[in-house]
């Protein structure tokens, strides 16, 4: 009985098999896309896809061809442009391995919401890519730049966004779900990393660019684009982005410096190894206020002057100065955001969490409230832990020697 049924299954499956494999795609039929660039061209969307040339990366015999190639097409929508690509691209463009989606500045200023729906809807898209904005250039140019070391330039872009956030804290990596939820949230605005091209973009897409020891053209990520709703309204400088990261508790590691003496140009540099932020919203005499409480741990990484860091009082002094520096960073960053009228820190959400009723009252005009009324109390507490492999700097001896020489 069972045996017969098995035969039924097998036969039916084989009948299906005759017409099956609808979804099978051989690897050789796929163009693996690693980056997408979306630009605005006149009224249309210009979509550029960077695809891998696998033979150049992992094959046995390398030729002079580049490891990646890009294809562009234009259409009314992203989806249409993507499908139009099939007329140019030799293979089916496969989107699951996209690392970066770069959006052109012009498009970002016009509003990105309508282009994001396709990206969140398509089943091939995974949610693990980074989004960025091309600053000052078109997005297509940004993904056209060839990079040394990493053959797939999209991967270089993704990894530099990640590593600069991790070690430098001057960018902000943003994934699709974070972007969408900040765009749709009432008490928070979105930010996206900016990608700058240093050098000549036309030079950058040629193989010469990577044949030189020092590539003349390269991409750099150290700014953050600020959105209001879904439109790009301005840019935060690197330091301001760092302030942003401090506030939203995304600093993993960065470098802070402070002058040895007041007004001195010689610095003591500390490496932040851990930072933890707590935000609390409250209403002080009807003024919405957010208290930002940051606890930072740092190690001394560089001492340029002869300050005696073995002296505990000096140590404390440096801690305090560093705290002030960070505080200043944050204040500048908030000022900048207020100037752009965009609550990128999510202060609105903080307030709604602490006092929901009052939040409901101001929810409708939050943007104005943020700019005009919102007060912030920043409190930074820096703790220095270690001093690296040496304690006292040799600078002190040099200074003393210099003094003796002068005498």
């Amino acid at each position: 009985m069972v045996k017969k049924l098995k035969i039924v299954c097998v036969i039916i499956i084989f009948i299906l098999f005759l017409t099956a494999c609808w979804d099978a795609n051989e690897l050789t039929d796929l163009a693996l896309a690693t980056a997408l660039a979306i630009d605005q061209e006149d009224d249309q969307i210009k979509l550029t896809v960077q695809v891998i040339n696998p033979d150049e990366i992992a094959g046995n015999n390398f030729t002079n061809r580049t490891a990646v190639s890009t294809y562009s097409s234009t259409g009314e929508t992203v989806f249409e442009a993507l499908r139009k690509l099939t007329t140019i691209a030799p293979r089916k463009v496969y989107l699951s391995h996209i690392h970066v989606i770069v959006i052109g500045e012009a498009l970002a200023e016009a509003g990105i919401a309508r282009n994001l729906d396709f990206i969140s809807r398509d089943h091939e898209m995974r949610a693990d890519f980074h989004l960025a904005i091309a600053r000052g250039h078109t997005a297509a140019e940004a993904i056209n730049i060839l990079t040394p070391l990493e053959k797939i330039s999209a991967e270089k872009l993704a990894s530099s966004i990640e590593s600069s956030q991790q070690a430098w804290a001057k960018t902000k990596k943003v994934s699709l779900d974070v972007l969408l939820s900040s765009i749709s949230s009432k008490g928070k605005e979105a930010v996206l990393t900016g990608v700058d091209i240093i050098g000549d973009p036309n030079q950058g897409n040629k193989l010469d660019n990577v044949e030189a020891v020092h590539s003349p053209t390269f991409v750099k990520v150290d700014t953050v684009g600020v959105f209001k709703n879904d439109q790009l309204v301005g840019w935060l400088s690197g330091d301001d982005s760092k302030g942003l990261n401090y506030v939203i508790n995304e600093v993993e590691s960065t470098v802070e410096e402070t002058a040895c003496e007041e007004g001195d140009d010689k610095k003591v540099v500390a490496e932040v190894i851990k930072s933890n932020t707590k935000m609390e919203g409250k209403f002080k005499n009807d003024t919405p206020t957010v208290a930002i409480d940051i606890k930072t741990e740092a190690n001394i990484g560089d001492v340029e002057c002869g300050i005696d860091i073995t002296d505990p009082s000096n140590f404390e002094k440096i801690e305090k100065q560093l705290g002030k520096e960070i505080e200043q960073l944050i204040k500048d960053s908030i000022d900048q955001a207020k100037e752009l009228e965009s609550d990128i820190f999510g202060f609105g959400e903080v307030i709604s969490r602490s006092n929901y009723k009052r939040w409901k009252e101001i929810e409708g005009r939050w943007s104005d409230v943020f700019v005009q009324q919102l007060q912030t109390e920043v409190n930074v507490d820096v703790t220095l832990r270690r001093t690296g492999t040496v304690t006292q700097s040799f600078q002190k001896e040099i200074e003393e020697k210099k003094k003796k020489d002068e005498q």
Partner: protein
Amino acid sequence: MIKVIGVLVASAVVYKLDYPTVKKSKSNRDKFVYWIFFLFVVGIMILYVLEVPFPNPTEWIKQVYKPVGEPYKQLVERIVNQ
């Protein structure tokens, strides 16, 4: 037409292989009911491949539960999208 033949061939194969399991029960009632059901399902499949429109049972259920379903729908819409 080719689709109908396809369905018939497939049904014949299924019948050929499945019927012995019914035959084993040695009950005429079982066999009879099996034939009726089988023919019914084959009929439906043929109608389906001929793209004959079927009445949708979901619509009937909707009709039955309309008196409660509609007010509930409005209630949900009011509460969720307040």
